[in-house]
Every structure is written in structure tokens, then in C-alpha cells.
């Protein structure tokens, strides 16, 4: 029992250490370039964790999450540009809109084979992109078609979610990431989490045990799309420019899914791990080989994905968790006498 406690203490203190490091990093790391890279890393970890709620726990394969990023980005940006509404509010509006859309997509497709759901989300994502690219005005709202929208950097400050330095962005996305991880943790230990996992793995058995599988998936989808849209607003405010081809792109949808799958879908740490491992690969290969070896990072992604799926279908978090536990047990061994 005592050993159990110290082991838990060690885990809590290492978590605290990670917290201190991540929150303290901008005090040491002054380079805007590196902060920028880290912000994107957290953003991807956040997006992937949000994806994980439905793609991981519910056991389906959504491949159109970029559309929710787009919905979030466009909602807050249009509300801000045309009506002067704070992006914080716009963020919520975008989230709710995305949740509604997510439910509309999930409603008919969750009852079908998984392949249909994957296809529906792809078509939906591409459909939204094509629409945005073709629409200049949607009723009173100016989408500005394929040219995208630019946010003029005026009235900088917290109320408008706009800053001249990188640090505030860093902290905002970090807090968002921590929040989504905490949410994932609580869900995974709740009735909903058990029901999602059960329904994802063996839907028939789950149903016979009282699980309304389709409804659980819908709840997960609504949460996932809501959270994803929030990141869309953040991204719009971070880059101050949104462009349908880059923000609602198939590549983004796939990258989110890839990171989650390689890291380990359905686990809490998996998406973060995936982002931690893969974002640097893509950043550095783009910086160093972008001109000479275009697409190198995507070849690496693809190869890693295939290998991980063959040898570690539950993602890289599984062997790493094993190593971590082994380490933990070695540091604080079982007392003699017990097994």
C-alpha cells in the first residue's frame, strides 16, 4: 500500500515537472521561430486529442475534421470582421455550429459500416471546401470565396484574441490542450467512456449490455467537432489569415488522423505522443528538404503509419507505456512477500 502511494507520488510529481517545463518554456526560449513551431505542435496535439474522442474512443474513422476547423475559423472571423464580435464569443458560436453539423453527419452514418462513415466525412470535408471556395456571400456573410479572409491586426489584445508576440498564443493553446486532455481523462473513466469503447469494439455485444451505441457516438462526435472548431478560431487568430484550400484541406484532415493513429488512438497520451514525434519530422523535413526532397515528410508519415499499423496496431503509446511502467516498477520495486 505504501509503495502504491509513493509510485503515485512519483507519477504526480513527474506530471508536475512536465507542467512546469511546458509553462516555463517561453521564459527561457525567446526565439519566435521555435515558439511558433511549439504552438503548432500543441495545436496539432489539441486537434488530434479532439479527434481522438470520436476517432479513438468511438472506434470510427473520421477523415474530414478539417471542415470543423474551417467552421470554427470562418464563424469567428466573419463575426469579428463584419460585426466586431470578440473572437472568444465567435469561438463558442463556431463550436456550437460545428457540433450541430457533426451530429447531422453522424446521425445517418453511425448506423452503417465504418467504411461509409469514413467516406461520408471525406466527402463532407471536401464538399464544405468546394462550397466555401465558390461562395462570396452566404446571405449577409462575406466568405470571400477562394481568396480567403484577412484579419487586420488592429485593437490587439486579449479581448480580441490577437497579440503581437507569440507568448500569449503559446499559453492559450497550451491551456486549451491541457483542458482537452483533462476532459479526455475524465471521459475515459466515465460511463460514457466505457460505453464508447465497448460500442467501438463490439457494437452488438455493447447493445445487448444496454449501450445505445449510435447515441454515444453522436455525443462523442458533437464534443469532438465542438472542440475542433475552437482550434479553428485559435488558428485564424494566430495566423490572421484563413484560406479555404489550406484550412479545410484533405491533407489537414488526414494529418490529424495519422498523428492520432501513430501515437495510439483511444488513449489519452497517444495523440500528444503522436504530435510530439511527427510534428518535428514534418517541420524539419520541410525546412531542410522542402526544396530538394518535396513530400519527404509525407513518405515518412506513410511508412511509419504502415509499420505501426502492422506491428503496433494500438499505436506507439502501448510499448512506451510498458517501458514507462517497467521503469516505474524498477525505481520503486514491489516489497518482498507480495507477488
Amino acid at each position: 500500500m505504501g509503495e502504491q502511494m509513493t509510485r503515485q507520488n512519483l507519477q504526480i510529481s513527474s506530471l508536475l515537472l512536465v507542467g512546469i517545463i511546458t509553462f516555463g518554456l517561453p521564459l527561457v526560449l525567446r526565439s519566435p521561430t521555435y515558439l511558433h513551431i511549439l504552438i503548432l505542435l500543441y495545436l496539432y496535439a489539441y486537434l488530434t486529442s479532439s479527434w481522438n474522442l470520436v476517432g479513438g474512443f468511438a472506434g470510427v474513422l473520421p477523415l474530414g475534421h478539417a471542415a470543423f476547423v474551417g467552421i470554427g475559423a470562418y464563424s469567428s472571423t466573419i463575426l469579428y470582421l463584419q460585426y466586431g464580435i470578440s473572437p472568444w464569443l465567435g469561438m463558442i458560436v463556431g463550436g456550437i455550429l460545428a457540433a450541430i453539423v457533426g451530429i447531422i453527419i453522424g446521425l445517418p452514418t453511425f448506423k452503417m459500416r465504418g467504411a461509409y462513415f469514413a467516406l461520408a466525412t471525406i466527402a463532407f470535408g471536401e464538399g464544405i471546401r468546394v462550397m466555401v471556395e465558390n461562395i462570396d456571400y452566404l446571405g449577409p456573410f462575406n466568405l470571400n470565396g477562394p481568396r480567403g479572409l484577412q484579419i487586420p491586426p488592429r485593437n490587439v489584445g486579449l479581448t480580441n484574441l490577437m497579440f503581437t508576440t507569440k507568448e500569449p498564443y503559446y499559453y492559450i493553446i497550451l491551456i486549451m490542450l491541457v483542458a482537452v486532455l483533462a476532459l479526455t481523462y475524465f471521459i475515459s473513466r466515465s460511463k460514457l467512456g466505457y460505453y464508447l469503447n465497448a460500442g467501438g469494439e463490439e457494437p452488438e455485444a455493447a447493445m445487448s449490455l444496454g449501450v445505445n451505441v449510435a447515441r454515444c457516438k453522436l455525443i462523442a462526435m458533437a464534443m469532438s467537432s465542438f472542440l475542433t472548431a475552437l482550434a479553428g478560431t485559435f488558428y485564424a487568430q494566430f495566423t490572421l489569415f484563413i484560406h479555404p484550400k489550406s484550412i479545410i484541406s484533405l491533407d489537414l484532415s488526414f494529418e490529424i488522423a495519422f498523428i492520432a493513429l501513430i501515437g495510439g488512438r483511444g488513449s489519452i497520451a497517444g495523440p500528444v505522443l503522436g504530435a510530439l514525434l511527427l510534428r518535428p519530422v514534418s517541420d524539419f523535413s520541410r525546412i531542410y528538404f522542402g526544396a530538394t526532397l518535396p513530400g519527404l515528410h509525407l513518405i515518412i508519415f506513410g511508412t511509419v503509419l504502415v509499420l505501426v499499423m502492422i506491428y503496433q496496431p494500438r499505436g506507439l503509446q502501448e510499448p512506451l507505456t510498458r517501458v514507462y511502467h517497467k521503469l516505474l516498477y524498477r525505481l520503486i520495486p514491489e516489497p518482498a512477500g507480495t507477488e
Binding site: 445517418p108 471525406i122 466527402a123 488526414f254 518535396p294 519527404l296 508519415f301 506513410g302 502492422i310
Partner: protein
């Protein structure tokens, strides 16, 4: 009036070629119950093989079928055997192997970007093309000759695959596996060999589609993506697993694309295609023609 008829005819011709590009997708789904996300990339590979066969040998584009079909068959056969089979084996108990879908996505990214790396991003089209811009004239109407040949290729390929599945021993083994893989393997059918063959056939049809496209379409590393998503839409419209449905689904898309622009901006037709797709998916997921499997 002629204008509309010309649009209709061209829509049907191009649509049947779309159907041909999606044929392999539906064959592979029918047997393996997996959407092969790499199918567009296989088409792209087929186009590159055809392109290089023409450019290096100076053959007539359609003669390259002799090279492309066996090369693509083997490519598909071993792709399934080496990359996809291990996952099927690992997830034998899983009813619906999502992991396989994911792996095919990985293959898609590898193939596309490897091609980009090796051949560069430039658009290529065959030189000394005997079919370039060739048109048949019917009064006022112009019909593209390579598209007409593509139409025939689509019909013949779909017909032969159908015949093969109905009449040959291997075909019957494939159909048995598609109906119930466990029962089939109890009957002594080697499940994974059947998967390999089905994947090979599916890939070979992508090769045929590649050959018919090369005379009038540019070849570039991401060309597959255009057909990939169109292919998904086509097979769902026609009913996943249905061979005839794939051709019909393709023709529907072809018609929307050729007739649509006479009424609206061309880019909107793309949105209509997605809209129709989602509508069918939501209202009648077994496809427009209500066929589960027609073989």
C-alpha cells in the same frame, strides 16, 4: 439541342471512364470488405507505367496494355500480400478491419510522394500522341476518339471481370470468399490468396483505366487524388461491391459534370456531386440501384 446531346454523349463517355477508374475499388471492397484508399494512387501508378511504356518504346498508347496489365496485376497482388495481409492476419477476429483502411491510406501517401520525389511535380503528356485531339464529327457534334475508346474499354473490362467471376473456378472462389470468408476457407479456399488475386485484378483494372486516360490526360503525382474521391463517390452511388453499379455511378458523375456547366458555374457541379453523394449515403446507403452485390 445538339449542344445538349453532345454534352450528354461526352458525359456518358467520360463517366464510363470514371466508372472504369472506380471498378477496382468496388472489386476490392466486394471481396476484402475494405475501402482501398490507395486506389487513386494505383491509378496514378498505372498512368505512369503507361506513360513511360509509350515514351520509351514509342508504341501506340493502347498497345501498352500488354505491359501495364500484368505489371499492375503483380503490383497489386504483392502489395496486398506484403503490406495488407499481415494486418488481416493480426486482426482476424475484428469484424471490420478499420486498420486496413488506415494502412491503405499510408500506401496512398507513400506512393504519391515517392512519385513526386522520383519524377517531380511536373505535368507530363505523351509526345507523338496519335490520338491527341482526335475527334469524330457527327454533323455539328464532336466526339473525342480517345474517350470513345475509353468507353469501350470500360464496358469490355467490366464485362470481362463479371464473366471471370461468374464462369471461372478462381472467380467462383472469389465470389465464395466475398459472401462468407470463413465458410469459404472451410471449403478449402485459400482466403489470403483470393484476397491477393482480387487485389491484383482491382489494380490491373486501375492500370487499364490509366492506359485509357494517358492519351488525353496529364500525368502528375497527385492525379490519383482527383479520381480517388470521385471513385469513392461513384462506388457508393452504384452500390459498394457492384460492378455494373460502378460503371453506372461513373456515368452519373460524368453527366453531372458535362451537363451541369451549361446551367451553372463549373465549380458548382463539384459541390453538386458531393451533395448527391451525401444524399445517397444518408437516404439509400446500398446505392442508387439497390444492389448489394450483383455477383
Amino acid at each position: 439541342m445538339n449542344y445538349i446531346i453532345e454534352g450528354l454523349i461526352n458525359g456518358i463517355l467520360m463517366g464510363s471512364i470514371y466508372g472504369l477508374t472506380a471498378l477496382g475499388l468496388t472489386i476490392i471492397f466486394g471481396v476484402l470488405k475494405v475501402i482501398n484508399f490507395a486506389h487513386g494512387s494505383l491509378l496514378m501508378v498505372g498512368m505512369y507505367v503507361a506513360y513511360w511504356a509509350v515514351s520509351l518504346s514509342g508504341l501506340h498508347p493502347y498497345l501498352t496494355l500488354v505491359v501495364v496489365v500484368p505489371v499492375m496485376y503483380l503490383f497489386g497482388y504483392y502489395l496486398q500480400d506484403i503490406v495488407i495481409k499481415p494486418i488481416f492476419k493480426a486482426e482476424r477476429e475484428v469484424r471490420e478491419p478499420i486498420t486496413v483502411i488506415i494502412v491503405t491510406t499510408g500506401v496512398w501517401y507513400i506512393l504519391d510522394n515517392l512519385t513526386l520525389l522520383v519524377f517531380g511535380p511536373q505535368y507530363r503528356s505523351i509526345q507523338d500522341n496519335p490520338l491527341r485531339g482526335k475527334m469524330l464529327e457527327f454533323g455539328e457534334m464532336l466526339i473525342s476518339v480517345p474517350k470513345l475508346w475509353g468507353f469501350f474499354a470500360a464496358i469490355i473490362t467490366a464485362g470481362s471481370v463479371y464473366w471471370f467471376l461468374q464462369k471461372t473456378r478462381t472467380g467462383r472462389a472469389i465470389r465464395a470468399t466475398s459472401l462468407d470468408r470463413d465458410a469459404a476457407s472451410l471449403m478449402g479456399i485459400k482466403q489470403y490468396r483470393v484476397y491477393n488475386i482480387a487485389f491484383g485484378i482491382g489494380t490491373a483494372t486501375a492500370g487499364i483505366a490509366g492506359v485509357t486516360l494517358v492519351p488525353f490526360y496529364n500525368v502528375f503525382p497527385t492525379v490519383g487524388v482527383l479520381f480517388d474521391i470521385k471513385g469513392f463517390i461513384i462506388v457508393v452511388l452504384g452500390g459498394l461491391g457492384s460492378i455494373g453499379g460502378a460503371i453506372l455511378g461513373g456515368i452519373i458523375i460524368g453527366l453531372i459534370e458535362s451537363v451541369g456547366p451549361q446551367f451553372m458555374a463549373a465549380t458548382w457541379t463539384e459541390a453538386i456531386v458531393y451533395g448527391l453523394f451525401l444524399l445517397v449515403l444518408f437516404v439509400k446507403p446500398s446505392g442508387l440501384f439497390g444492389v448489394r452485390y450483383d455477383w
